[in-house]
């Protein structure tokens, strides 16, 4: 297998995992209009939840339950859902921009908790030595990555299929009603707060699932993984791909992540060695430029929401 295809497998694992996160955010923003600016916080809960459940027992840590991976990832999801329930009950009465500020603050606090709650999260050193699921069954890392890519695709497929069913159901139509005109939906006797809470919890548990998968693949977790920038990246993915469309959310994840990473590869190929230390800045500008250009030419995203209702 050529070097590029080996890399491509690796790239797709990460990108499609962001796709799962994008689907969670799309359910919240694209379908229901909930401005979740704390994506990275729930991603962190899913990731740390899984890492603590799966990690080996250590004297200096509270966690380390040595549980099998599927249990750990589901546990991480459940913790993210629980956190979303608590956050949701407290904040979902807030209108869009206030919800955004509240969730953003919560994500920042969660990162600080991860940094400071040493006996649970390992603090700044993170949690090391996490086993990678089924790694011993494979002879080399490339076949393992191929297996992991398959796993991510299957999980993404299940999430996708479930969400497509959900948004086409009467419940899904209700989401759009809440997004478009809350008062009208309320006047029809719908419990808006309950709907918003359901969507928030479901979306956040998908974001948590993505966090758990990330840890399973990388085998390490530390607070550096959960900088606020990640929230912005996922939002860029959703907007570029097309919010309100599940295919758009996944496509956006792949396209934006490709721009983000492969622009660096392209620059390192063309820039002479002496200028490489400046090339990083060019890359960041290029990413911004491409995202802006895409929004100018495709304001509804690459694949926007289908108009005309369902």
């Amino acid at each position: 297998m050529s070097g590029f295809s080996i890399y491509l497998i690796f790239f797709l694992i990460i990108a499609l995992n962001y796709g799962i996160m994008g689907l969670g955010l799309n359910l919240q923003w694209g379908y229901t209009g909930l401005f979740n600016a704390g994506v990275v916080g729930f991603y962190a809960i899913g990731a740390y939840g899984a890492a603590i459940l799966v990690g080996p027992d250590r004297d200096y840590l509270i966690g380390g339950f040595d549980l099998p991976w599927p249990v750990a990832i589901l546990g991480g999801m459940a913790l993210a859902a629980l956190a979303a329930l608590i956050v949701g009950l407290a904040t979902l009465r807030l209108r869009e921009e206030y919800l955004a500020i509240a969730t953003f603050g919560i994500a920042l606090s969660l990162q600080l908790v991860a940094l400071n709650f040493e006996s649970l999260t390992g603090g700044a050193n993170g949690l090391v030595g996490l086993p990678r699921p089924l790694f011993h069954l494979f002879e080399d890392s490339t076949t393992y990555n191929l297996f992991f890519l398959g796993l991510v695709i299957v999980i993404l497929g299940i999430v996708w299929f479930g969400l497509e069913l959900a948004v086409r159901s009467p419940w899904g139509r209700l989401l759009r009603a809440v997004r478009e005109d809350e008062s009208a939906a309320r006047s029809l006797g719908k419990n808006i707060t309950l709907i918003r809470l359901q969507v928030f919890v479901l979306g956040c548990s998908l974001i948590g699932l993505s966090g758990g998968l990330y840890v399973a693949f990388i085998g390490f977790v530390s607070p550096t993984d959960f900088l606020p920038l990640l929230t912005f990246q996922v939002w860029a993915m959703l907007i570029v791909g097309g919010s309100g469309n599940n295919a758009g959310a996944v496509l956006g994840a792949v396209v934006v992540w490709a721009l983000w990473t492969m622009s660096g590869l392209a620059i390192s190929r063309v820039a002479p060695v002496e200028l490489q230390s400046q090339a990083g800045a060019i890359q960041v500008m290029l990413i911004g430029l491409l995202i802006v250009a895409m929004l100018i030419f495709r304001p509804r995203g690459l694949i926007g929401e289908k108009t005309g209702g369902s």
Binding site: F10, I14, A124, N125, V128, I218, V273, Q278, G280
Partner: protein, 422 residues
């Protein structure tokens, strides 16, 4: 629109996969590096990259490595692990680099190690990641020996400082430390060592980076009337904390961590408050091998190599490339196995620079042993890929100059360590 997109995609892929073919020679080896050129460590990332590039240039001038020309390929991690891991994977798979240098932050080096270097059997040498997690992971067998770092670990540094606190007669010391892997482990090791030497640690307070004020932390540290302070910080935040410490009546008996050895720190605190302070640093400041590096740097970049990470990064690159020369092939596992052969042992000593590498290549060609003594002096990796280095104790003069007060060579450090282990 579709046509434009397609054309764009084609031209980008042409750039990515065509550019190198045109320049292809008989034989080239890529050496990859992942550093923070942008992001929170951007201020130091570029020049650290220059240090590695300098080592690669020296090898190319000396005739290449394993019979090939070496290309240095630097990638930016933007200060985030996900981008860094991806960059490392492209370096290993697409550029076929058998050797990765970096990253700066431990939170980026570690995921690169677990998800790229170890599975793909590539040797990774970091200049700057000081977290104890690498040692822990290695002891559990999680690194397969593929990880090395040229930066001395925190523990000896903490023990040396603790011995100074004891010798100075400090009885009750407070610690204020930056809440990062670096600060955490230095503070913890210091506390352990100090208490073993009869210095009571009355408070140990963490602070989070880039805040406007550290009054709350300083106040907490002042509780219990400490007679001295150990400050573990980076220059900007450290200056804020030190100023507040002094203005709240804290003692001027201060011990300072290595990252504070910067003119910036002294200027913003004020030299007159720092004359009683003592700091530590782990770069060897003199010796022929260090001079050789300093001179080569000045010749290339026109200034003295002042700044964190330069000496250690040059050594990271030099050790990796010498090991590759010794192995005779660009293979990650072979490089891993030869690293200790070209650094420890009783081989003939070679220095940094073109002449040193020429000499090393000739010795290796004759089948003779080589011992690289680098920009940070002699380098001996232990079983976990960690090094113990010599230290210097620095102070600040009345007029704000950084002075060297004392030196700890490796024998003295090892003796002290052996004494405290008991």
């Amino acid at each position: 629109m579709k046509k434009t997109l397609l054309a764009l995609a084609l031209s980008v892929s042409a750039l990515m996969f065509g550019a190198h073919n045109a320049a292809a020679q008989d034989c080239e080896i890529n050496v990859g590096s992942v550093l923070s050129i942008t992001g929170s460590m951007a201020a130091i990332g570029s020049s650290i990259g220059n240090a590695a590039a300098l080592a690669v240039d020296h090898f190319n001038e000396a005739g290449g490595v394993a019979g090939c020309k070496v290309n240095f390929v630097l990638r930016d991690d933007q200060g985030t692990p996900n981008v860094g891991v991806d960059a490392a994977k492209t370096l290993v798979e697409i550029e076929k680099a058998p050797l990765l240098l970096g990253a700066i932050q431990s939170g980026i080096s570690l995921p690169i190690l677990t998800s790229v270097s170890v599975p793909s059997k590539v040797t990774q040498i970091s200049c700057c990641s000081s977290a104890p997690s690498f040692t822990a992971l290695s002891e559990e067998g999680g690194t397969d020996g593929y990880f090395f770092r040229t930066l001395p670990t925190d523990k000896p540094q903490a023990v040396v400082l603790a011995s100074i606190a004891a010798q100075k007669g400090y009885k009750r010391i407070a610690i204020i430390y930056v809440n990062s892997d670096y600060g955490n482990s230095l503070a913890k090791n210091f506390q352990e060592a100090a208490e073993g030497m009869g210095v009571e640690v009355v408070n140990s307070v963490a602070y989070n980076q880039e805040q406007a004020s550290y009054r709350a932390e300083v106040n907490a540290a002042l509780q219990g009337d400490p007679d001295s302070l150990f400050l573990v910080a980076f220059p900007a935040d450290g200056a804020t904390a030190a100023r507040e410490w002094i203005s709240f009546g804290g003692s001027q008996n201060m011990l300072l961590s290595n990252a504070l050895r910067a003119d910036e720190f002294v200027e913003s605190v004020g030299a007159k408050f720092l004359t009683k302070a003592l700091g530590i640093d782990n770069a060897q400041t003199e010796g022929d091998s260090v001079e050789a590096f300093n001179a080569a740097w000045k010749e290339k970049y026109g200034e003295d190599p002042n700044g964190p990470g330069l000496h250690v990064m040059y050594d990271a690159a030099a050790v990796g490339l010498l090991a590759m020369e010794q192995a005779g092939k660009p293979d990650g596992t072979a490089i891993r196995d030869e690293v200790r052969k070209v650094t420890g042992g009783d081989g003939e000593i070679v220095f940094p620079g073109v002449d040193g590498f020429k000499q090393a290549k000739a010795l290796i060609a004759d089948g003779k042993a080589v011992k690289y003594v680098g920009a940070t002096g002699p380098i001996t990796f232990d079983a976990n890929g960690d090094v113990t280095g010599p230290y210097l104790i620095w102070g600040v003069s009345e007029d704000g100059e950084l002075t060297v007060e004392d030196k700890w060579d490796m024998t003295r450090v090892s003796e002290l360590m052996a004494k405290t282990e008991k």
